[in-house]
Symmetry: C2
Subunit: 426 residues, 2 copies
């Protein structure tokens, strides 16, 4: 590629064993905090094309492009970082004839691409230049394995029990073609072109080894659009994620990540992602009065405070009753049912994107939430909460689960390693 | 709506005659400059919920949310402002039985909504709260009338000749269901939730008077993602808009806007928008080598400089030949064919969004450009350039025009007026 000062091309099969310049192991993963505390990526480390090399603590607003998340680490990126403005979810199925060897080569290519793009560098080969001029913009790429992956690669014995199919929920209306998949990639960034660029690179890397099974686009608020940048509202207008576990919680790691000594060994420091495309029936929802909406949720729409009083972070008083003796937070309110201390202590971390794929022929919006939750064990995280919701959540009339996936997301790659190597070469 | 400090509800039919608090006529429309000069919205004027009221010159990065574009003005907003990170295009058809009276009431509602949302305030009635906590985020709403509008409202005599259907181009592959429409609304903002919120409000305002005909989503780079925030790359990786006319050009207004004395009188200070969904055949495009791509475009991909030398803003030397006597900028290069001084002097202003609506079943991306161009006269702007492109543009193999619309966008509303009032009550 003449005329371009991008790094040397690397053949798809070559290992990314040597450290890439600029990709120092400075772990500066900002931690998710939708309650407004700690959510933004901190500072701008070096390595991005055209950006200062000195690590510096900068405000979020001056570093939208330069903000960088490290590829290497104990955990994969894209789990505890703050919400990103743009996201792509994509599932792949291995091609006929592709097995463990091809999967290993693919994960090696993907890891090399992720490492470079997250550093703001060009893709290892045939970069499209779509992200050129931009910094990494907090780009993250996260890779996971679905239930079907293990049979196709002869690795059944390595399949975690936690990947057993989720139970059926009576309210599910799942489109199988947009559910599951051998491999799952989550892409997030604070710039839409950076995210799209990564999606193209990942798809190109797949080559003849895997084909796209489904792909979805999502978004969150832009950095700087609010005075409280991490106030995450969903498309119902509701503040979302208030009761997410906080990284500062003593048991955060235990709830979200498989322990270093966990089973199977290749999932050490990994996590399980449940992915649901949850359509919001906004025309119905928006016909409710504000107070009716608040009864459905159990929280005030304006500030997310529980109906029992206080502010967003005040614990909900489930027993508080009004003059007539009725619960102030109704028995079927969404926030009551999902309340962490009645569900094993919030054993999942929700980190969603909103989606909007246009307006259907009947005028209804094809919009809602790309619900993504992270947990050490889906049977203690997503499943018990969803079971309760399935039985009597006031919100269920206004949403529809349209697709579902469950993926084993291994721990982060060490230097010289690729994601999933401990599984594929174990 | 208890518990909320949003302004009083206003019934859909009530005129927004009185000035809305905070919506002062401070015209601070930043001017489009994709070459990097003047593109960003300047400063943050008052009026947005929770933001400082004092007009202040602020950097783009510190004012993503607070940046505000004025609704009232000589021209409608959304034409000369800098590119926005998120956009929605939506066309409506009037409902059966709806005529001039219903259209006038609808434009009155839309104008009231646009005025309030662009000031960062809640919608006039039943606000969804989706944009709550955010500033206006440079939101703009722009309204236009299609050819079919005039027949349905008995206003044929007011229909501009400039709305005559565009000629057929041999390369068109138009989906009629996603083309044209009685009414067109362009929504842009630097925050996706703010833009979505506006789309919902506009659709709700339509009520039973009009139904959505088609709707498309687009995006541009996030503010702050690049050191040169207005360097607009499209999804081919190409710098786009280099040769756009600049507001500082002496003949800018003349080329882009209908004169105050123009015909028909209701279009004074208006403009005509050509809207094309241009799909990019990225799998084919990305198989070209860098130099082959540059031959197709006639500019260097890295920096947008013409192949004849210089930098992005250097005039292209069309006659320059190489040692073999061949044009350095090939005869069928896109940038040669579209070169303004061979096409009546760039009589159109391009202000696009990229789009990406997922990946088709065969693995190809449904992505490209929501091409929007503005001109005083489509027969001097879009049409002659597109005719030339249709005959021999090297780029045509890599793109596909999938839908088309042409809309008459009246001048901006004066205080107490609604958009289109001079047509509908003329």
């Amino acid at each position: 590629m003449p005329d371009q000062s991008i790094p040397q091309a690397r053949t798809p099969e070559a290992p990314a064993a040597e450290p890439v310049p600029g990709a120092q192991g400075i772990s500066r993963r900002a931690l998710l905090g939708t309650a407004g505390a700690t959510g933004l990526a901190l500072g701008a480390a070096g390595g991005a094309v055209g950006y200062a090399a000195a690590p510096a603590r900068a405000t979020a607003l001056s570093s939208v492009g330069a903000d960088r998340v490290m590829f290497h680490g104990k955990h994969q990126p894209g789990i505890t970082e703050g919400l990103q403005a743009r996201g792509h979810l994509v599932a792949f199925d291995l091609a006929a004839g592709a097995g463990r060897k091809e999967a290993a080569a693919l994960l090696r290519r993907w890891s090399a691409t992720a490492q470079r793009l997250m550093a703001g560098e060009a893709a290892p080969h045939d970069d499209t230049d779509v992200a050129r001029d931009a910094g990494p913009s907090s780009l993250t790429l996260t890779f996971g394995f679905g239930h079907s992956f293990f049979g196709r690669t002869g690795l059944e014995k390595q399949r975690p029990g936690a990947l057993d199919p989720l139970p059926d929920f009576s309210s599910d209306r799942l489109d199988k073609a947009r559910s599951d998949g051998d491999l799952w990639v989550q892409i997030g960034a604070n710039d839409a072109l950076v995210a799209f660029h990564a999606l193209r690179a990942i798809q190109k890397d797949a080559g003849s080894a895997a084909r796209v099974r489904w792909q979805m686009n999502g978004f969150n608020r832009s950095p700087g659009a609010t005075a409280h940048p991490m106030t995450a509202r969903n498309l119902m207008g509701q503040i979302d994620g208030t009761r997410n576990p906080k990284p500062a919680d003593a048991d955060f790691d235990q709830r979200i990540f498989v322990p270093a000594s966990g089973e199977p060994a290749w999932m050490a420091n990994g996590s399980y992602a449940v992915v649901r495309r949850i359509r919001m029936l906004l025309d119905d929802w928006e016909q409710l009065s504000l107070s009716a909406q608040e009864q459905v949720i159990g929280r005030r729409k304006a500030d997310g405070a529980p109906l029992s009083g206080g502010d967003e972070t005040t614990p909900m008083d489930l027993d508080k009753a009004d003059a007539r003796g009725e619960y102030v937070v109704p028995a079927n309110a969404h926030a009551r049912i999902t309340r962490p201390d009645r569900n094993g202590g919030a054993a999942m971390l929700r980190r969603p994107f909103s989606f909007h794929d246009g307006i259907d022929a009947d005028g209804t919006p094809d919009a809602g939430l790309l619900f993504i939750c992270w947990q050490a064990d889906p049977l203690r995280g997503f499943v018990p909460v969803q079971r309760k919701l399935d039985r009597g959540d006031a919100l269920s009339k206004f949403i529809r689960h349209e697709s579902s996936g469950l993926f084993a997301v291994p721990g982060g790659a060490a230097k010289g390693e690729y994601v999933g190597q401990r599984l594929l070469e174990g």
